[in-house]
Symmetry: C2
Subunit: 246 residues, 2 copies
Amino acid sequence: MLLTSYNRERTAATLLHEAEPETLNGLFSRQPVEFIHPGQSIFFEGDEAKHVFEVVEGALRIFRIISDGRRVITGFVFDGDLLGVSLKRNYLYSAEAIVGTKVRRLTKKNFEAAVQDSEELRPQVFERVCDEMAAAQDQMVLLSCKSAEERLCTFLLKHLRRAAAKSDVQSMVQLPMTRQDMADYLGLTIETVSRTITKLSTKGVLGCVGRHSVKVIKPMLLAQLAGDDDEYGWGDAGAAEDRRHH
Amino acid sequence: MLLTSYNRERTAATLLHEAEPETLNGLFSRQPVEFIHPGQSIFFEGDEAKHVFEVVEGALRIFRIISDGRRVITGFVFDGDLLGVSLKRNYLYSAEAIVGTKVRRLTKKNFEAAVQDSEELRPQVFERVCDEMAAAQDQMVLLSCKSAEERLCTFLLKHLRRAAAKSDVQSMVQLPMTRQDMADYLGLTIETVSRTITKLSTKGVLGCVGRHSVKVIKPMLLAQLAGDDDEYGWGDAGAAEDRRHH
DNA sequence: CGGTCTCTTGAGTTAAATCAAAGGCGGTGG
DNA sequence: CCACCGCCTTTGATTTAACTCAAGAGACCG
């Protein structure tokens, strides 16, 4: 609602028989790009969910403010991600740019109409929603029982994989968000985040380069410290020790 | 895979033009009912997600076992709920009956075919998935920053509302799960759950009746202690105090 | 009625939060 | 280009809510 262009939008029918390979992101390709300044919001928790957004470039934080004024970040979205797909009537969270960000939008109505009519698009939406659910589950596991160090390592590992997938410079991870953002995302305080990063740095797992990027020196150790053991253990099933928390 | 009946199933086409009002649960109405004993699983994390289940009666716990043997319960499902809708290829969690439970199943293939072809069913699935996402978000908020007391009150309140919606006896809440289940769901230990319930009981908020049900005596106070302030505060916007955690 | 399993209660420990202050990065203006 | 200022981050000291360990009490079953 703070945005400038009230974009003229193509109808669902127009959207359809145009793009050749029919990708979800393709739906947005003719929409005007909107620039969001750092700290600016694209919608607020409780707003009517009128639009679906595609992030073209940049990064946003997705968060809720709870009764006592604290902020919980439920996720970050980056270029290529969609925002606002799995919502009924209202946004359940606010979305705010972390850095200068470019987005495109479609009305929810047009987005859904286009998806409904396409045999190709429907499974793509389904897949995105499933991924979102899986991420939410992982986050619940993290918040339920991981230690501060495990949380940070899990977080960094996720971003390392993102970077690797985009074939960026090996082992360099860009972290556009602040320490406070990480704290609010990981269910920790800023001090604990800072101390834990320092500790990982001291251990030689990683090296900080400025405030917003780290170089991962020992990715294997990082993965081990994350405590996921990616996909249930390494075969020694039934070794349910009596470990409890942390 | 532990189940007995390898049900003959109607085809998607057959499923469709039969039920008059076309509800999601209606899809399952002709499927055979399967009985699940307490502690028995209907599927395991990692299994190929072949079926979608409708819970007819009873209660199940949905959980993951993490590398060190601990269990994280990501949700409970009760009668009327569907299980296995928002999954791609494999189950992300195990599902185990808490008490004697009745379920019906459809192959994922048939379920999805039936849904795809129906203008009435598609939005119903979408709504269920949205509710699931919303529940996951709420749980993240709970795990991120709520105290033990707030967690328990939030949990009890949710179950109180369930009971109220089913027009059961006012203020009596059935809790079929064990204290350990609650602990694994709320990110606490069994001792903390027990102590917190005792404290709430001492305060006169509720009274325990046996192990598996409580009588809520002061529902308003319970809601207050849950710390949700259902939908961002009561108007005093901008009163972001300097409160931090718990 | 006795056994087993679950739950409660107590005592002590700990990881992370809180409170407090110093350090350093980045932007601005002289 | 450099000095200053503000904000973010780091580091230190202390507190605390929840965890761990341990033992006893109560519910439910045959």
